[in-house]
Structures are given as C-alpha cells and as structure tokens.
Amino acid sequence: MSYKGKFRVWRGEGGEGRLEDFTVEVNEGEVVLDVIHRLQATQAPDLAVRWNCKAGKCGSCSMEINGKPRLGCMTRMSTFTEDETITVTPMRTFPVIKDLVTDVSYNYQKAREIPSFTPPKDVKPGEYRMQQIDVERSQEFRKCIECFMCNNVCHVIRDHEENKTHFAGPRFLMRIAELDMHPYDVADRKDSAQEDHGLGYCNITKCCTEVCPEHIKITDNALIPMKERVVDRKYDPLVWLGNKIFRR
C-alpha cells in the first residue's frame, strides 16, 4: 500500500540552510532512510545523507526526525500517520557539512583524550583471567554503535557550545566507566572523570538513555555508578578514612 508522504528536509551547508518541502512516495514496510533515498533518486540528487548498513548496527544514519534523535534506518514509516508532515534535520549539536551530514569529529577528539586500557605491568597479554560476572557489566557498554545520538541529545553541549571543551559527553563518560569497572584496568580514572572529562556536568536527566538505539542503560549503569565512584574518591570522608585505615 503506497501513499504520498509529506517531508520537510534540511538543505544547506555549514549551518546556513532551510527546510525544504517534498512529497515522496512511501511504500509499506519502509523506513525513513528508504524514503530519503527515494527522494535522492527522484527529486534531490545532491541531497547529502550518511548511511551504511541499513540494519541499525553501524550508527551512520543518525538524524533528527520530528525533532527526536533517531536512526533513519530504524524509524519505521508505519509509526507516522499518512497525513503527517515528517521533518528531517541533521543532528543539532554538531556542525553541518551538508544537508543531513554532520561533522562528528568532536566525538573522535574526546575518544582520543581518554587513556586506553591499562593492565597491570606484571600481567602480560594472554595471562588475563576473568570470570564472566566480573566483566558482564562492561559488556553492556560494548554494545555501543557510536551513533553519537547520546552526545547529540545531551543538553550540556546541545544547549551550551562552550561546554564542549570540558565535557566528554555520555558516550565517553560511559567508556571511562567501562574501563574503571574492568578487573584488570589499573589507571586512575575517577579523578580525571570529574576534573578532565566533566562528569559533574551530567545532571542525570537520562536523555542519553532515552535515545540509545541499543537500549544501553547509560545513566543507570554507567554514569550514576561512575558518579558514585567519584563520590568515594572526592566527597565521602568515611570511605577516605576506611581506605587509610585498611590501606586499600
């Protein structure tokens, strides 16, 4: 069953641009990315859109559909009514290269600022021995497909460009939590999470969790546990005293 769907799509380069109206054929079973591709094929051959797997696993087609950060390939057209106008814009936190394609290099910069996995010096590769229960918390965070929608929706940088210099965003604070929970990681990550990567800016309003296409409980399982670990280190005198007495 086909119908003519009404779309408003952001067109422009480097921030300058406008929403353009299109009427495009929509077929049963299609997702928004399918319609964007049809638009590209039939009416706007220069429309720029980043995509790759069309299976919700590469994280390339992040965009904002009716104002919500979504993967174009995972947003079914059947979730909209036929008379609804669907507005498609690029992620609003990152600079626009062209149309729906944004420059997400902020995220790669933040990734590079986090020290990599640091095992004890006396344990060599191949000697790691871990039980499943010791690593399964971190495994949830490994599901991340780096679509960067969590960083895009986070108001700390979405509404405050100035915070980009000192806030890593939920994706990379989750990476810090993943490493800090690792049984073989010995790097000190608690102080740096707070001082260098801006964990204190997070006010746990859970938008990162709401938009995650992998349904990772970013706030409950990574950010809040990491905040509690920082409290152990910086704000809890009893833990500090216990560590002194028992020389932990």
Binding site: W10, G12, G14, G15, E16, E64, N66, G67, K68, P69, E84, T87, T89, P90, R92, T93, F94, P95, V96, D103, I133, D134, V153, H155, V156, R158, D159, H160, E161, E162, N163, K164, T165, H166, M181, H182, P183, D185, G198, G200, Y201, C202, N203, I204, T205, K206, C207, E210, V211, D220, I224, P225, K227, E228, R229, V230, V231, K234, Y235, D236
Partner: protein
C-alpha cells in the same frame, strides 16, 4: 580553556533552526505532571508538618514519626523515649523531616524529575533549555548532591522506624484498615530506599571483582533488580506516605470513624 558563546562561530556551523524544538509529540506532558505531583506533595507536607492530629492509638502519622519530645503523647514516643525533652515546642515532625526530605531531594531519580520539571534543564529531550549558562553539579550549591549516600543511611533508619510503627499497629489492631495502610506504606518506603543507586553502589557496585565477593554480588544483583523500578517505587512511596499520613490524621480528628478504621 576556550570559551564560546551561543553566537560563537562554532555554534553558527550547526543547522540554524530558530525553534526550540521540532518535536511534535506531547513532550510537555511528563514534566507538567511531575511538576503537579511534586508541588502537591510539597503543599501536603507543609500542611501535615504543622497539623497536630498526628496520633491516635495505635497509629502514628508517618510525617510525624518518630516522635521524640515530651510534647508527644506517651503512646506516640519511639520506645517510650523522649530524648529531645520539653524544650522543643514546635511540631515533632520538624526534627526528623530533614532525613527523608534530604534523601528524596538528593535522590538520582528526583534530581532528574525536578531538573526537568522545575528548572527546565532540559524540560524534555531535544527541547532547548532557557538558561544561558550551565555548570551542572560541578560547583555549589549542586555539588552538595553528592552527599546522597549519607541521606540514604538516614533513610534506612526512617524506613526501620516506619516498619516498627506498622508492626506495632498490627499487634494492637490487626483488623484495622489503618494498620494495613501503614504496612503497605512501610513496605514501599523500604523498597524505595533499598532500590537507591547509592545502595546499589554500597552493596557491591564499587567493586571490580564480583567473583571475589559472592554474597555482596548477590546483594548487588537483588538491589539492581529493585533499582530498575526506582522511579515507580519513588512515586508509589511518595503517594503511599501521603495517603497513610492523611488517613491517620483523619482518624485522629474523628473524621473517619467506622469500626475497622
């Protein structure tokens, strides 16, 4: 550190959409309901703290428990004690109010709810917030939110006292409706307290080797299951404590008089 304003060149490279949000759903409904629910609780709490009808044998209203001054009727005193003495003449609820109020105020779930509904930071996901600057919980006063675990310890105490009150009511009036209201309330308060993120961290969340601490790991697993329902428990216990408190006060005032009250 480079400081950039909202008009910075970097900001201008983003899509220049001049609207606060393009969301078409009712994104305002959740913060509006939260605002209404929390405001109602604050108004009720203010009234209840200053209301004097907080005890009727064998029930004590949760907002006024434990009663620690000689001004409290004897049956209302915790273990018959009155450690505060007679110098405190204000309503007894004021003495212990700080513990449950502080616990809820610094709770990770309530922080999310009032940051969204009262401070609009942000009001909903992908909806612009009205503030020009944002420093989050990095400095005073919000850095104080990090004391949450100390309020958790206090909340455990309050949960135990409310459970004790409910058990006393069960012993003295097992068929009373008030007894069962107090029991349900105590259970919800205890479950909400145990589902706290700080509790989850204290049980074993701070460990990196669960396998070396099997008992703590089991406790963490249990608390994690409760923690997944933290929001629901927060609201359920918020309303249960109001309902239980209001019921006891109505019985104490003689408004509710049926035989199994």
């Amino acid at each position: 550190m480079t400081q950039q304003t909202a008009e910075s060149p970097a900001r201008k490279q983003r899509a220049q959409l001049k609207v606060r949000t393009l969301r078409t759903d009712r994104w305002w409904l959740a913060p509006a309901l939260t605002f209404a629910g929390l405001t109602f609780f604050l108004i009720y709490g203010f009234w209840a703290i200053f209301d004097k009808s907080y005890f009727v044998e064998p029930y004590i209203a949760p907002f006024s428990s434990p009663c620690l001054t000689t001004a409290c009727p004897e049956g209302a005193r915790l273990f018959g004690w009155a450690p505060i003495g007679d110098w405190f003449t204000l309503p007894p609820g004021l003495i212990i109010l700080g513990l449950p109020a502080g616990f809820r105020f610094t709770c990770y779930y309530y922080r999310k709810s009032y940051y969204r509904s009262f401070w609009l930071s942000p009001p909903a996901c992908a909806v612009g917030e009205p503030h020009k600057k944002y420093t989050g919980e990095t400095r005073l006063p919000l850095v104080i939110q990090n004391v949450h675990r100390y309020f958790f310890y206090g909340a455990i105490l309050i949960g135990a006292i409310l459970s004790y009150d409910a058990v006393l009511a069960l012993i003295h009036k097992p068929a009373g409706l008030g007894t069962w209201i107090l029991l349900v309330n105590a259970a919800l308060i205890v479950l909400y307290t145990l589902s706290c993120h700080s509790c989850r961290h204290i049980t074993a969340g701070r460990l990196n080797h669960f396998s070396k601490h099997p008992l703590r790991y089991r406790a963490w697993t249990f608390v994690s299951k409760l923690n997944a329902k933290h929001m629901q428990l927060a609201w359920a216990s918020l309303f249960s404590v109001m309902i239980a408190d209001f019921y006891v006060r109505m019985v104490a005032k003689g408004v509710i008089t049926f035989p199994f009250a």
